[in-house]
């Protein structure tokens, strides 16, 4: 067979694997849409649940999800990006400390979320007496996503060409000025990718959240209030056989929420990068 023929077969194979991935994605989302759309109404989004979720809507869980994710992000993003910048721009390169930190981050990223949940439960909920709350849950989720944010930010910062730095320093810029004007904007797309991945994990997390934020159906107002997230709600609706239709409706709204959050994250960080 000639090179051309081979080339063709390989192209078809690649095209086929791309097609399968798209088919799986479309299939799952399509299934959730079909099963869940009937549950969704304006009331479903805006009303609080009643009778354990059999009736009413899921408004408190939507608020709980956003609240919890926001707290986790506010805690994790500055620390994660800060740690990445310290490691790559300020710290001495190739030190044991840096290596140990990298290894730690990679190990931490692989630990199952339930383990984080258990830790958060024992440490924040009980030992620090924070109870089941947005704060306990947010701290736990923050610790859980910190390694991902740090590592992706680190990779993004490493990928910024070295010449930018030497050119900037040669013009008299300080490290901080170079980071602010050159490195962060150039690394922003990579950092955003890490943040989006982390948001997805936080929004979708159920086990660690039940253990640390609880599963109260009340509207969380204070950071010390307990809350039930959509993922937890979905889990309970399905596990306790409360309503499959509502479980799918919730699933559909989780997907919609993630799409919206990703869009907003992309938009705001791109704006930030342009400044």
């Amino acid at each position: 067979m000639g090179t051309k023929g081979k080339e063709k077969i390989i192209t078809v194979l690649f095209w086929f694997s791309a097609l399968i991935i798209i088919a799986i994605l479309v299939g799952i989302i399509g299934y959730i849409v079909v099963k869940g759309i009937s549950a969704i109404s304006w009331d479903f989004i805006t009303q609080p649940p009643s009778r354990a979720g059999k009736e009413g809507g899921i408004s408190t869980t939507i608020i709980g999800t956003i609240y919890l994710t926001l707290v986790a992000m506010i805690l994790a993003v500055p620390f994660g990006v800060g740690a990445a910048l310290y490691l790559e721009e300020y710290g001495r390169k190739n030190t044991r400390f840096g290596y140990a930190l990298k290894l730690t981050a990679e190990t931490l990223a692989g630990i199952p979320s339930i383990v984080y949940g258990l830790f958060g439960f024992v440490f924040f909920v009980i030992f620090l007496n924070m109870g089941w709350s947005i704060l306990s849950g947010g701290l736990t989720l923050a610790i859980m996503i910190l390694p991902t944010i740090t590592r992706t930010a680190q990779e993004a910062v490493i990928a910024v060409p070295q010449e930018y730095r030497s050119n900037s320093f040669a013009l008299g810029a300080t490290k901080w000025y170079t980071i602010k004007r050159l490195i962060l904007p150039a690394a922003a797309p990579g950092i955003v990718t890490g943040i989006i991945l982390s948001i997805g994990r936080a929004v979708g997390e159920s086990a660690a959240v039940i253990l640390t934020a609880g599963s109260s159906l009340g509207m969380p107002l204070n950071i010390t209030d307990p809350a039930r997230t959509m993922a937890v709600h979905l889990y309970i609706l399905a596990m306790e056989g409360i309503s499959m239709e509502r479980a799918f409706g919730t699933a559909l709204l989780i997907i919609v929420l993630i799409v919206i959050i990703n869009y907003l994250a992309n938009l705001s960080l791109r704006k930030l990068a342009r400044q």
């Binding site: 390169k93 320093f169 013009l171 008299g172």
Partner: protein
């Protein structure tokens, strides 16, 4: 003739490796000084001692003294930011920042506290004119700089250096990535710039050194073997090793 830069016994170590073994050189104001020599002999290293850029490489140590207008730039009271404002550097590979042409040129002045829009506008225009780039880009200064050709990018980098109004410009093989036309434009530009600046240029191209420079220093294995007026060095080298190098009889 005024000595702008003077180095005494400059030694540089990269960890255990000594890259420069005591360089003594006088660089004259408003002249072009070329540094030539085989690869790895320490030309770039020496250039980076003049704006203290070596300090950013982990594990380097610099000894000796370098005087800029009689002031030792390695003394404790020297502010590196102020030093690098006076001593600009053009690197081998033009590295434009991922922003507009305008923002690239305004980058330096902004570091040094210039915020006024009208003032920045005028600096940008003046610098681009001085770098012989204005005519080619004046319609698109707010477009991304990455869209420029290699030769234009190198002139943009020079404009960016000029915008901070340095006194000395260090150029490390600025033409090595350029085509012949861009190279001759660059050489022409160097000839114009020396009226207002002191220029030190590293080059591998002997003809280029002969064309653009007034003084030439020949480096070999971390030592300055010979330093004199360019004509003298090329026509009448005193050292056998210099002669071997410039006549191409060298490794």
């Amino acid at each position: 003739m005024k000595i702008k830069l003077k180095s005494e016994e400059v030694k540089v170590f990269y960890k255990d490796f000594q890259a420069l073994h005591g360089i003594d050189i006088d660089i004259y104001e408003n002249r072009v000084t070329a540094l030539i020599g085989p690869s790895g002999c320490g030309k770039s290293t020496f250039l980076r001692t003049i704006n203290r850029l070596n300090e950013l490489i982990q594990g380097t140590k610099t000894e000796g003294r370098i005087y800029l207008d009689q002031k030792d730039i390695y003394s404790a009271e020297i502010d590196v930011v102020a030093l690098r404002k006076k001593v600009g550097m053009v690197f081998q590979k033009p590295s434009v920042f991922p922003m507009s042409i305008y923002e690239n040129v305004a980058y330096g002045p902004k570091i040094h506290g210039i915020k006024n829009k009208a003032q920045l506008d005028s600096i940008v225009e003046k610098s681009l004119i001085a770098a012989n780039l204005w005519q080619e880009v004046k319609e698109r200064v707010h477009k991304p700089a990455a869209g420029l050709s290699g030769g234009q990018q190198q002139r943009l980098v020079i404009a960016r250096v000029l915008a901070v109004e340095p006194e000395v410009i260090l150029m490390d093989e600025p033409a090595s990535a350029l085509d012949p036309i861009s190279t001759s434009k660059l050489e022409e530009l160097i000839g114009e710039l020396k009226k207002n600046y002191t220029i030190v240029i590293v080059t591998h191209n002997m003809q280029q050194a002969a064309r653009v420079s007034d003084y030439t220093g020949f480096f070999l294995n971390g030592e300055l073997i010979e330093y004199s007026k360019t004509k003298e060095l090329f026509v009448n080298p005193r050292d056998k090793r210099t002669e071997d190098y410039i006549t191409g009889r060298f490794g």
